[in-house]
Symmetry: C2
Subunit: 114 residues, 2 copies
């Protein structure tokens, strides 16, 4: 059992729902990563601890961007937390590495090489 | 440039189209792998050199099975070749390893552990 679900419940506003580490499904992660925009988000987050939605430069409208972040969060790829009016995003690297060793690194490696 | 497209053109019947190694896209591979039935197919093929569609036991109708094999072939995950009335399938392990080092192994590892 993981305690990651309600990690930021003490924040000022509501925290979005996240799957616990042991609830992260391989097919769901692969599905979440199977989109070029979402891969760009993952690459951006791999280089930073936390980024807001608007600080990641994507050629899509805000609602599409919000959708991509939600898909990544619901699959367990990223964590989102509310800080004031900003939603901050981070990669769940340790959780993904624990669940599927080597998967995230191979995806990031493939993106670096391309 | 890869010469893998028309590898089995000398067979008795037409060979289905395959992407060349350098045409295999990461997002497409992840999309192809993001389905539990297709992951089962990949696991079955990982243990064998070649398998016919009907020798892989899947709880789906034949047309759905054919669809899953086509998705995997078009993404570059498997190779299909016609031999008489059978379509034989194999994993493009070397091509995938060359294109995205470690990716297939991490997916197979995650499936073995689950």
């Amino acid at each position: 059992m993981s305690s990651l679900i309600s990690e930021s419940a003490g924040g000022a506003t509501e925290s979005p729902a996240h799957p616990a580490t042991d609830e992260i499904e391989l097919a769901g992660v692969l599905q979440a990563l199977s989109d070029p925009m979402r891969l760009r988000i993952v690459v951006a987050l791999a280089g930073e601890a936390e980024l807001s939605c608007k600080s990641i430069d994507l050629p899509v409208v805000k609602s599409t961007c919000t959708h991509h972040f939600r898909v990544l969060r619901e699959a367990g790829v990223i964590r989102q937390r509310q800080e004031g009016t900003s939603r901050l995003n981070s990669l769940r690297r340790a959780d993904l590495d624990a669940r599927f060793p080597g998967l995230l690194e191979s995806v990031l490696g493939a993106l670096r090489d391309s």
